[in-house]
Symmetry: C2
Subunit: 209 residues, 2 copies
């Protein structure tokens, strides 16, 4: 069963349990998907209203992108579980002979690279949701603009959460060139996201206060 077919209550029960997945990576993906869904909601409550005719074409384009991001981030919940299981499976490989030991280390290292790239992709997707939330906060229906503020904070929490999983896996990778490139991209995305999230949240706060 995929994560999206579980009930919310069961998902939260499993999150809280001593099973290591779903964990922070799944939560990160849900935060991002929630942000994308709220961008879509604000736009769905904006298009078709005469007052917002001027921004309708632009927002319809944003809606196509937010719905695609929502689908990708919902799938990312399951991708995180798979990547984690592969790392755990690799650590569990036999290490009786020198050959087995070498094969195990190689498999662990390959799995760690995947387990770094999967949350990095979630960071990129959340970064994209933040962009769309910023446009929506500027141009969306004023009556529901608070939801654009929730959207940006949701996506930013997803980004900060996935970032921790990038760091924790990159730390154990021996190929430092690979790991350093990921951390460098991460830092750039984090910096951009922080600035745009603060700006967007303030725009919304001023509109609703």
């Amino acid at each position: 069963m995929t994560a999206k077919d579980q009930t919310l209550g069961v998902f939260l029960d499993e999150l809280a349990s001593e099973a290591p997945t779903p964990g922070g990576g799944g939560a990160a993906a849900i935060h991002g998907a929630t942000g994308a869904a709220l961008v879509s909601m604000v736009i769905n409550l904006t298009v078709g209203k005469p007052k917002y005719a001027e921004v309708e074409a632009e927002l319809k384009d944003v809606l196509v992108r937010s719905e695609a991001l929502r689908a990708q981030l919902t799938d990312a919940i399951d991708d995180d579980v798979k990547a984690f299981d592969a790392v755990m499976g690799a650590y569990g490989l036999p290490r009786g002979t020198d050959e087995e030991k070498a094969a195990r280390v190689e498999t662990i290292q390959a799995a760690l690279k995947v387990a770094t790239d999967v949350p990095l992709e979630a960071v990129r997707l959340c970064r994209d949701v933040i962009d769309l939330a910023a446009i929506t906060a500027d141009k969306g229906n004023l009556n529901v603009i608070s939801d654009a503020g929730v959207a940006v904070q949701s996506a930013y929490a997803g980004l900060l959460s996935a970032a921790l999983n990038v760091r924790v896996n990159a730390k154990s990778i021996k190929d430092r060139e690979f790991a350093d490139a990921r951390i460098q991209e991460l830092e750039t995305l984090l910096g951009e996201a922080e600035t745009l999230t603060k700006k967007t949240y303030d725009v919304v706060k001023n509109k609703v206060s």
Copy 2:
């Protein structure tokens, strides 16, 4: 049907739809519940391990509180829908006669007070989750400490999200003494939460980097 009995996929579909609920208030509550669940997870993976025997009693107490907060925040998803529906219902009341007009205004104002107090309670609950995430980030199992970082960002996003709903409803309340008292409490909670969230996230970031 309560929100927790819906599948995650259906919940996200409804969030994205043009139906105004579930909206940002429901997302705020889920963020908080996710944060509480991750506090519980880290503790469930800490207690019983000899290395963490010294903090076991304290963390077991935190677990009781995080599970109570998770239940309250999960219920808060439905409370938000009810509070919103009551405001919308009040705006829809007849206003043919002066008596009807007066009754309508009174009902709207009463509903707005509830719709301010419901997200303010969510802010308080998220604030409590942040406290527990801070303890967990300090004392929980190092192998899953990144999840304590996700927990604090989840709860903080929930708090910032619910805060917007407090503001938007408080703005329309004519009883300024009531509204100002809520905004004042909100500002205090926001200030405390920002400081503790940053501190906790940095603790985790340093442990995983």
